[in-house]
């Protein structure tokens, strides 16, 4: 349950960014989270909703764009999506697969007024 720590870090960054842009209120926070990032999005939303109370983000909505896992085989070059956490090339069976997408844990933008 490290989602509370992640939510606090997130809140600190978005409030700081909003203040730097002279905003009075944050309406929405848009995140990109990869499926390999070990973050439970429901727990993150719950933690965020508790922590945002009494801040300029108190009415903000957390929008999360989940990113599927995409890997590329370095032996045969085959690029594929992976539903399971078993990155064996679907074309040549090599384990030499690098992850192109799916490890994201970032804030895309915020909507403020």
């Amino acid at each position: 349950m490290h989602e509370a720590s992640i939510a606090q870090s997130l809140l600190d960054i978005v409030i700081e960014t909003a203040q730097k842009n002279n905003a009075l209120k944050i309406n929405a926070v848009n995140l990109i989270i990869g499926k390999l990032s070990a973050v439970d999005t429901d727990a993150l939303k719950t933690a965020y909703d508790v922590l945002k109370e009494d801040t300029i983000a108190s009415e903000s909505i957390l929008n999360i764009k989940l990113i599927d896992i995409k890997g590329e085989c370095l032996d045969c070059g085959f690029v594929s999506m992976y539903d399971t956490y078993y990155f064996k090339c679907k074309q040549c069976s090599s384990y030499n697969v690098i992850i192109l997408e799916g490890e994201e844990l970032s804030i895309q933008d915020i909507e403020v007024e």
């Binding site: 490290h2 720590s5 960054i13 960014t17 070990a38 399971t84 895309q108 403020v112």
Partner: protein, 221 residues
């Protein structure tokens, strides 16, 4: 009127910043830092108890212990003759870079070759928090089940070495060693594997030698 403001920052960028600072400090001071991660009870402290007596003959070592409560693990380490500091997180399930920074601020890094951080026993959360270490070493024990690597892929992804502990128990368990290692390899093909037992001593020499070699590679002597 609502407007969009681009952020394009990592959610954990504050932790990352501190970790980056620590990493450059460790580089300047020639300190090799290794972060031990695993689920509770897989044997992180036992492994340290076994390898520290020999490692301390070659290097000056400091251990940072992370647990929710008690000073027990730091005391176990001190009995090997290596100095240790216990961080009690009071419920937090992982260590953060800021806490390591605080411990480091009281140390004379010129007098230290290796810092070993034993993270809170947890195969999920510590994977998200960089502590400025050179590498993470994940410990999985045979009593936990061979599918741990695919159940906890994030930790496998961020680790450099995979230590399979309690290998002496395999004859009594329904545990397929090769299957476990193949799972881990399929999640992270760059992992280096060690099969060890703190009970029989199997594999401990190889692990100790690897840590020594990695330390020499960094501190250059």
């Amino acid at each position: 009127m609502s407007k969009k403001v681009e952020v394009k920052e990592g959610i954990l960028s504050k932790n990352q910043q501190i970790a980056d600072n620590l990493r450059s400090l460790f580089k300047d001071k020639n300190v090799f830092v290794i972060n031990f991660v695993s689920s509770p009870g897989s044997g992180k402290t036992s492994i340290l108890e076994k390898i520290l007596p020999q490692l301390k003959e070659q290097f000056k070592i400091f251990v940072i212990e992370g647990d929710l409560q008690t000073e027990n693990d730091a005391e176990r380490i001190r009995k090997t003759g290596v100095d240790a500091y216990q961080i009690t997180t009071n419920g937090a399930c992982h260590l953060e870079a800021a806490w390591v920074e605080k411990v480091i601020s009281d140390l004379n890094l010129d007098e230290i070759d290796i810092i070993i951080i034993e993270n809170v026993g947890n195969l999920v959360c510590p994977s998200s928090f960089d502590l400025g270490e050179d590498l993470k070493l994940v410990v999985v024990s045979t009593t936990e089940g061979e599918d741990k690597p695919i159940k906890y892929p994030s930790m496998m992804r961020v680790s450099s070495a995979f230590v399979l502990n309690k290998i002496d128990l395999v004859p009594y368990l329904n545990f397929d060693v090769e299957k476990c290692i193949n799972y881990a390899r399929a999640v992270n093909n760059n992992l280096i594997f060690f099969k060890i037992s703190c009970y029989s001593g199997e594999g401990l020499e190889d692990l100790k030698n690897w840590i020594a070699q990695k330390t020499y590679e960094k501190i250059g002597r």
